[in-house]
Symmetry: C2
Subunit: 319 residues, 2 copies
C-alpha cells in the first residue's frame, strides 16, 4: 500500500487566490457572460459538464476576406443541436449573430475561425441532475486554420484508413456536432504510426465514415460519392453537394467501402477548417495518377470563388 | 440570408481584460501548474484538447473519514489510461500522491471526492498535431457526493433500461476512464422521461452495459454477476468482486440480458460516488420483493467497514 503523505505540517503549501497561466494563446477575442475577452481568458471550470461529460454542442463558421461563409447553415445546425441536447441559452439567434460578428470585428481578423459553444454548465446547487444545470455560452474568433498545410493542398494529403470505428449513431447522434473525438484522435495516431498525415475511420459495418474534423468524397468516372450515415452532416460537405448541383455533376450519398475509396479516380476531404482538400495517397496506394484531380481542382476554385458571393456570404463590419 | 451586423462603429463593445465569474463553486482545493487554488480558479482553456476533443483521461478516488480508499488502484488506472492515450506528465506517481493528499488536507474535507485529470492540452504553436501538445494535469478535492441520495440508499433506486447504446470498445477503449458521456446523459433524460432516477444503457448486442458513472450487479439464487465487456472496469466493481472472495460468494463477469436483470433477486450499482447502491425498481418492475436485498445490505456494510482497514485505505495528514 502506498503512503499518501501530506508531508509535515510546515510543508503544507499555501492556497493562492489567482491562477498564473504561462501558456500561449492565439490572438483572438472571446465572448462569455456578457464580456468580450482576450482568448487567454476563455476558460471553463473543470466542473462544467461540457468538460466533465463532454456534454456540449458547438459549431464553427469561418470568415474569409472579411465575410462569414454560410453563417445561416451553421446557426441552423447549432440551434438544432442545442434542441436535441435539451439545452437553452438566454440569447436569441439574432443576438448570437451580433456576438459572433463582434468577436470577429474586435479581433480584426479578416480570415477567422469562429466557434460558438453551448455546454450543459453546472447546477448552482451542484446537483447531479443535468436538468438543473445553467447552460453556458462561449464564442470566439481566432485566426483561420486548415486541416491541410499549403504544401499538402498542392500535392494532396496522405491518409490511412484506420480500423477504429467512429462512435455509432446508436450511441451519440452525429447530427449534433460534438466533441467526442477519442476515436478520431486514435485514428490520427494510427496515421502518424504509418507515416501518413491524417486518417479516415470506419463505421460499424466497416465502410468509410469520416476523419478528424472532415467528411470525405470520392470521384469515380465523373460521379461523386460521400458517406450517408453515421457522420457529421458537414456544411462544407453540403456546400460540395450544392456546387455539384450548380455544375450539373452527379453526386450521391451512400456507403463507400475501403476498396472503393482506394480505387477512386479522385478523393478529397471537406471541412470548415480548410474547405475542399485533395487526397493523393491512401495507405500505400496512390489515388488515380497520384496528382490532385481535375474535378477536385474545379470544385476548390468554385468553393473559394463563392466566398465573395453575397448569396453565400455576409460581410463583417470592422471598426 | 441573415445580416450579421456588428452595429455602428460607436456600438462596438470593449474588450475587457479579466473574466468576471458570478457562478458558485463547491468548497474545495485544486492543483494546477504548481499552484494550489480555490475551486473557482480550476479552469481550462476552451482551446485545450481536453475540452475541444474530450481528449483526456481521469480518475476519481474518495476520502472517507480522513482516509483515501484504495488509492493505489485508482493511480494504477490513471497511469495506464495516460499511457494508452500517449500522454505524459512532468509528475511522478509519488508526486501526484502528495498533490492529491495536499488538495484534501488544504480543503479540510474529511469526506472528499478527489479527481486527477490529464488532458492533451494545447500545442504552444497551435499546431493540430496532438503529439506537439503540452499535456496538462489538474487535480482537485471537493466534498464527497453520491449517485444516490440518503433516501434512495434506504429504499433503493428506480432505474430504466435505455435503448441508448454505450459507446463501443471498437470506438473508445472503455478501460481508459474518459469523459465521453453523451450516451449516458441521453440515458439520464430517458430515465427522467419515464419517472425514474437514473438509467442503464445497453451494449451493441443489447445486453446491459453500465450507467452514468456506475457499474451494475445482479444477484440470482445467491450468485452475483456483472457485465464483462464494453464497460468501465470500476474500482468499486473490483472491490465488490474482492469482497465476494472474502465472503466466499460466487461472482461471475458475463453478459446480462435486460430480462435477466429484471428477473434478478437483487440488483445494485457501484461507483466511487456512493459505493454500493441498491436498485429496487427497473422500468415498471419491482426487483425481488421491491425492498433492498439482504446480500446487498451485507456487501454495503462490509464495503464501508473496509474504509477503516489500513490494508484498503491510507490516512490523510490534516493540518
Amino acid at each position: 500500500m502506498t503512503l499518501a503523505v501530506a508531508g509535515p505540517l510546515s510543508a503544507l503549501p499555501t492556497v493562492e487566490q489567482r491562477h498564473r497561466d504561462h501558456r500561449c494563446y492565439p490572438d483572438g477575442v472571446a465572448f462569455m457572460d456578457g464580456q468580450y475577452l482576450p482568448m487567454s481568458e476563455a476558460k471553463i471550470s473543470v466542473l462544467d459538464w461540457g468538460f466533465l461529460h463532454s456534454d456540449a454542442t458547438y459549431d464553427t463558421v469561418h470568415v474569409w476576406d472579411g465575410r462569414f461563409f454560410r453563417l445561416d447553415l451553421h446557426l441552423n445546425r447549432f440551434f438544432r443541436g442545442m434542441e436535441r441536447l435539451r439545452m437553452t441559452l438566454p440569447y436569441s439567434r439574432a443576438e448570437i449573430e451580433i456576438i459572433l460578428a463582434n468577436c470577429v470585428s474586435l479581433s480584426r481578423h479578416k480570415s477567422a475561425y469562429v466557434e460558438m459553444i453551448c455546454t450543459r454548465g453546472v447546477s448552482p446547487t451542484f446537483s447531479r441532475d443535468p436538468r438543473e444545470a445553467e447552460n453556458r455560452f462561449v464564442a470566439f474568433a481566432v485566426p483561420f486554420g486548415s486541416v491541410a498545410s499549403k504544401e499538402q493542398l498542392e500535392r494532396g494529403l496522405h491518409i490511412v484508413v484506420s480500423d477504429t470505428v467512429r462512435i455509432p449513431p446508436q450511441s451519440v447522434d452525429p447530427s449534433v456536432k460534438n466533441y467526442h473525438w477519442l476515436d478520431l484522435v486514435k485514428g490520427l495516431f494510427d496515421a502518424y504510426d504509418n507515416g501518413a498525415e491524417t486518417a479516415l475511420v470506419v463505421d460499424i459495418s466497416g465502410n468509410i465514415a469520416e476523419g478528424p474534423g472532415f467528411n470525405v468524397f470520392t470521384v469515380k468516372e465523373g460521379q461523386l460519392r460521400t458517406p450517408a450515415q453515421g457522420v457529421l452532416l458537414g456544411i462544407t460537405r453540403q456546400t460540395v453537394l450544392d456546387l455539384c448541383d450548380e455544375l450539373f455533376l452527379s453526386a450521391a450519398v451512400g456507403d463507400i467501402a475501403p476498396n472503393e475509396l482506394k480505387a477512386a479516380d479522385e478523393v478529397f476531404i471537406t471541412s470548415t477548417a480548410g474547405g475542399i482538400m485533395p487526397v493523393t495517397r491512401i495507405d500505400d496506394v496512390e489515388v488515380g495518377d497520384g496528382k490532385v484531380g481535375a474535378l477536385t481542382r474545379r470544385l476548390m476554385e468554385l468553393y473559394w470563388k463563392k466566398h465573395a458571393d453575397p448569396t453565400w456570404s455576409t460581410p463583417v463590419t470592422y471598426a
